[in-house]
């Protein structure tokens, strides 16, 4: 690294004892093989998260979380505030992009078996982060208080209520009451800007510390090839080589976000009217579509169990199994291939894609 960076780090080290950082930067390496491209997606998700935080803070300067003012404040931002349209559209698009890259990151880790020992907790913390990110999406979606958001939230929280015993309590907890009202808006705002960011930061710190501690995982196939001499073990330093490549990706993402914000600006819609009938075709955001569509296909009663309940239990069980995959796929820990889990992963992706497409038809 050049003299300037070295000088800066020495200055910090003398005051914070940050010599470890310089050591770490010097020594962190990224393995190079045919699957290296997937290494970029974790950093991309983090970058988009930072974009969300920055644009979110800017939005906080003008947003008002009450039913009388929420829609009007967003309208004000989009029509009166200089570049308000840009900040708002970037925030909305980046949210969707971030969820997409998070899923890609998660599935790439899954198929490349990066969850195997000793990285089980990285996987668990990552899955929890994924749930938190989807919580961000769900809570943030309501905040503009337009018709689509209001009814999508109504439908979404309604499903929470069908869980037995705790369902009613959970629904009232989410909504801040029996129905979706201004109380719901205030509550979702609190989740979105305080609770979830707090949880997310904590889990993110754990997740990133684990990644730095344990280094980058090399896929089993590549490891085997290296062991058998069919491939050479190559790597590049993280700083500055991989970081520069990361930055290319981040800049490209910025370009894409700007283009989306300018060419496909996020609609303001019409202010929510709680007493109006729900418009036809209400559905949640795309990342919930596959669950939404599944629930539609389930019959209202399966034997003696309520169909919706069965759906919710099914998804919860599936999520639990998915989080526990590192502990279930034990053979991979011994370096043996497990086609079953790969097949299961392909099935899951196929299921999500097909059902999302069905919901959009």
């Amino acid at each position: 690294m050049n003299g300037l960076t070295h000088k800066a780090l020495t200055w910090l080290d003398e005051r914070f004892g940050a010599g470890a950082i310089e050591e770490f930067l010097r020594h962190k390496i990224i393995p190079i093989h045919r699957h290296t491209i997937w290494y970029y997606f974790g950093g991309m998700t983090l970058f988009l998260f930072i974009i969300q935080v920055l644009t979110g803070i800017l939005l906080l300067l003008y947003y008002r979380p009450t039913p009388n003012d929420a829609f009007e404040s967003v309208q004000y931002m989009m029509t009166q505030v200089r570049f308000g349209w840009l900040i708002r559209s970037v925030h909305s698009w980046s949210a969707n992009l971030m969820i997409f890259t998070a899923f890609v990151h998660m599935f790439s880790v899954y198929f490349l078996k990066a969850y195997r020992k000793p990285r089980e907790l990285t996987w668990v913390s990552g899955m929890l982060l994924l749930f938190i990110i989807m919580g961000f999406g769900f809570s943030g979606y309501l905040l503009p208080w337009n018709t689509l958001a209001f009814f999508a939230t109504k439908v979404g929280t309604e499903m929470a209520g069908s869980v037995p015993i705790v369902g009613k309590w959970f629904l009232v907890f989410l909504r801040g009451g029996e129905e979706v009202t201004g109380a719901t808006l205030t509550r979702f705002f609190g989740f979105h800007v305080a609770v979830l960011p707090g949880l997310c930061t904590t889990l993110l710190a754990i997740h990133l510390m684990l990644v730095q501690q344990l280094g980058m995982s090399v896929p089993p196939g590549v490891e085997r090839a290296i062991a058998e001499g069919r491939e050479t073990k190559r790597s590049i330093p993280f700083f500055p080589n991989f970081l520069l490549r990361d930055m290319i990706g981040w800049y490209a993402a910025l370009g894409v976000l700007g283009a989306l914000a300018a060419v496909f600006p996020w609609e303001l819609g019409a202010k929510a009217d709680p007493f109006a009938a729900a418009p036809a075709g209400i559905r949640p955001e795309w990342y919930f579509l596959f669950m939404f569509q599944t629930l539609k296909y389930l019959p209202s009663k399966v034997l003696f169990i309520d169909g919706e309940l069965l759906g919710i239990f099914g998804f919860s069980a599936a999520a639990l199994v998915w989080v526990a995959v590192p502990f279930l796929d034990r053979r991979i820990g011994f370096g043996r291939t497990t086609r079953f889990f790969t097949g299961a992963g392909i099935f899951v992706i196929g299921y999500m894609v097909v059902f999302s497409w069905l919901a959009l038809r």
């Binding site: 004000y76 009166q80 200089r82 570049f83 910025l254």
Partner: protein, 152 residues
């Protein structure tokens, strides 16, 4: 190291140009992000984002026993200065077929020119086709401005 001077000198300018390009590109892109954010932070001239309250005009401009139409959101509204100097404000959208009403200083009533509807100065529909009264707004005088607020 027995490296001839010339090749090193040849590499140096190239390295500088790359650094310039990189540094310049990074700086320019950062500016193109920071600039909108900075403009965004500066509050616009119209400070209030709520659409429930509007400055209808300056108190000194309206004489007694006159009315003035002003813009409230995307709808017209009527500000009336009574003979005793106090202000009253109503929506100017007639409850019959949405024409814009006006103050009649000869009748001391609010009149709709489309079908001869009449409202009194409490907003009540007293004659003609209007089926409902006019919505009444709150008026407050803040300094020189007359501020009209829609009730929640």
């Amino acid at each position: 190291m027995s490296v001839p001077d010339n090749p090193e000198k040849a590499v140096q300018p190239g390295r500088r140009w790359v650094n310039v390009l990189l540094g310049g590109g990074l700086a320019a892109s950062v500016v193109s992000f920071i600039y909108p954010a900075l403009r965004y932070i500066i509050p616009p001239p119209v400070a209030e984002s709520t659409s429930r309250s509007v400055v209808a005009g300056r108190a000194a401009e309206l004489k007694n026993n006159t009315g003035k139409i002003f813009k409230f959101g995307s709808k017209p509204a009527l500000l009336v200065r009574m003979p005793d100097g106090t202000f009253r404000a109503f929506t100017a959208v007639c409850t019959h077929l949405n024409c814009t009403v006006q103050y009649r200083d000869d009748l001391h009533q609010i009149w709709c020119a489309c079908h001869n509807g009449l409202y009194d100065l409490e907003g009540r529909n007293v004659s003609g086709p209007p089926p409902r009264p006019l919505e009444v707004y709150e008026v407050h005088v803040q300094g020189e401005d007359v501020v009209v607020t829609r009730k929640a």
